[in-house]
Symmetry: C2
Subunit: 341 residues, 2 copies
């Protein structure tokens, strides 16, 4: 896992280089098709990438987005009217049975289908009309890291084809930012000692970093066996905050931008409840009082923060697994390809 985390700058650069011309071509098709709806289909870590895509596309393209419920297609065999829809399936292995069935069925129902996968010869790559490849190299660890950020990168490329708000110039900065952020590794390793006996926690994000809350929680569940809840700050205040008592750990993604004020208020509230808070934010930003802060180097527009911001989360999970004496590459009860319908 640690090795694959470290490979990310190179993997992202490779993906960007290999698929940017493809994204340019996709522009023409998108214009001609005039999509009215975007449907994202995925499971597990890829579903967290889809959650990111949901915000990215709605914020930049004005096209409403739906995260597909696979069982609607695979168990209930419902027929949806998907004319004028762009349906994007995301699967690291390309062998998620349910994802592939939804893509095949969406294609029959009139959608234009795109696949995002790490495996060029996979079923996903064959079932869709157009495939974007994540060039992350073979994933060996069961805990996905470089494929998650690779999927986010491809989603940025797709968004750049659908909206002038996302530019290739800005995307090209990301691999370098990830490299800088990897330097936090030593600091995070020292920090996680404190959480050696943490058995449960909450991870909070909002807007474009909401998906990262899901992804960090999933990494903590898979690799550290911590019962990690994930919420948007607004959903959290609508009930689950009742969980919080003195010392309860809450990890918060808090980039500067549109969600900052809202998340700061939550951090203040948590301080009053005497919770333990770990804030992931950017260097130089004035933060509310928190127990610990992890400072991502440099300042990026909020929309481009999710890839660098998940890196300290990945480091946190990988180091914490080590401190707990667990092997993050082989979580109990899991295989790298999970087949569900």
């Amino acid at each position: 896992m640690m090795k694959e985390i470290a490979e990310q700058p190179e993997a992202l650069r490779r993906t960007l280089k290999a698929e940017r011309a493809h994204a340019e071509e996709f522009k023409g098709l998108a214009r001609a098709r005039n999509f009215r709806l975007i449907v994202l289909v995925a499971r597990g870590t890829s579903d967290n990438a889809a959650q990111f895509g949901r915000y990215l596309f709605e914020l930049t393209t004005g096209i409403p987005v739906s995260l597909a419920a696979p069982s609607v297609h695979t168990l209930y065999h419902a027929h949806l009217n998907l004319r004028d829809a762009l349906v994007v399936g995301i699967s690291q292995s390309g062998e998620g049975t349910d994802i592939n069935r939804v893509l095949a069925s969406a294609r029959r129902q009139g959608a234009y289908t795109v696949g995002i996968t790490n495996e060029a010869r996979s079923t996903t790559a064959h079932v869709v009309e157009d495939v974007f490849l994540v060039r992350a190299g073979k994933q060996h660890s069961v805990a996905a890291t470089k494929t998650y950020t690779g999927q986010l990168m491809v989603l940025y490329l797709l968004a750049s084809a659908l909206s002038p708000q996302i530019t290739l110039g800005a995307i090209s900065e990301i691999p370098h930012r990830v490299r800088e952020t990897l330097r936090l590794s030593g600091e995070v390793r020292e920090l996680v000692e404190r959480y050696r006996y943490m058995r449960q926690c909450v991870v909070v994000g909002r807007g474009i970093n909401y998906a990262n809350a899901y992804e960090l929680a999933l990494k903590l569940m898979e690799t550290c066996y911590v019962v990690a809840e994930r919420f948007s700050s607004a959903d959290f205040l609508h009930g689950p905050i009742a969980l919080i008592e003195r010392d309860f750990p809450v990890l918060i993604f808090m980039p500067p931008g549109k969600t900052f004020r809202d998340l700061s208020r939550l951090a203040d509230r948590l301080r009053m409840l005497r919770a333990e808070t770990v804030v992931i934010s950017s260097a130089g930003v004035r933060l509310p009082a928190s127990t610990r802060a992890i400072r991502v180097p440099g300042l990026l527009p909020e929309i481009y923060t999710p890839i660098p911001y998940i890196v300290p989360g990945q480091l946190f999970a990988a180091h914490l697994a080590a401190v707990k004496g667990l092997d993050p590459d082989k979580p109990r009860s899991l295989q790298i390809v999970t087949r569900t319908v």
Copy 2:
């Protein structure tokens, strides 16, 4: 909370009686408008009702559904193309600031807006073009129960206007089923003694009962301060199952129907991991081996199970709070109306 749980048969009957003609009228409008997309907007318990609506509408109407991300509108001020969309806002109090802002903004963006609320004079009721009232009577407990099932009832009524698959005859059976199910109260009270010291658990549902997994988990978090994760069985197998060790409690909604085989397989897998399982299913159905089973009386087509099936969940949470010596009506850190943007 217990009083409001018990009021549900009457509240559901009242809502059904008061709004069925309205649903009939809505048919004509729906035909004329020819909706291409349904967007559901909600927070907290109402968002769990929206999750139910998502499956209900996709399964019966063939119209794709999107669960809105409020921050897209309220913090980022994005403009979505919502022409030909039906946008349904769900809010018990009708005073959720974010929900009302999304509804107002959706209306400006060309959508037809409907509100579902318990309060006729609320902001939600004024901001939308058409309002369906949940006649649950005043909600006093912070933990929503009768308003949740009332919202589900209204969603059935809306679905009956959009699809011949949902019939008023079948919906009319539901209040009686809820009355029968309430008889489980004594049995559930005895059962929860076993979970006096439960601090964390997982709740699993799939398809049309996926929303109930969210709702039961939320009730356990709010009223019992149990860290309760919620997953579909498929998502659970894609990572979080690594959490499961001997004695870890997993509550499973397992109605007979399309999702039964999938959930049974999960229960078998959990037995191999020596987890503690509590299965909520129908009387007379042959179940996989589980630690405990709660049997909902009678047999209903799967699509009509969610309202009766949440009742044992509500009873479980209310009794467990009592056994833990907590007041479920006034969870710490919560008010009945939560304002977020």
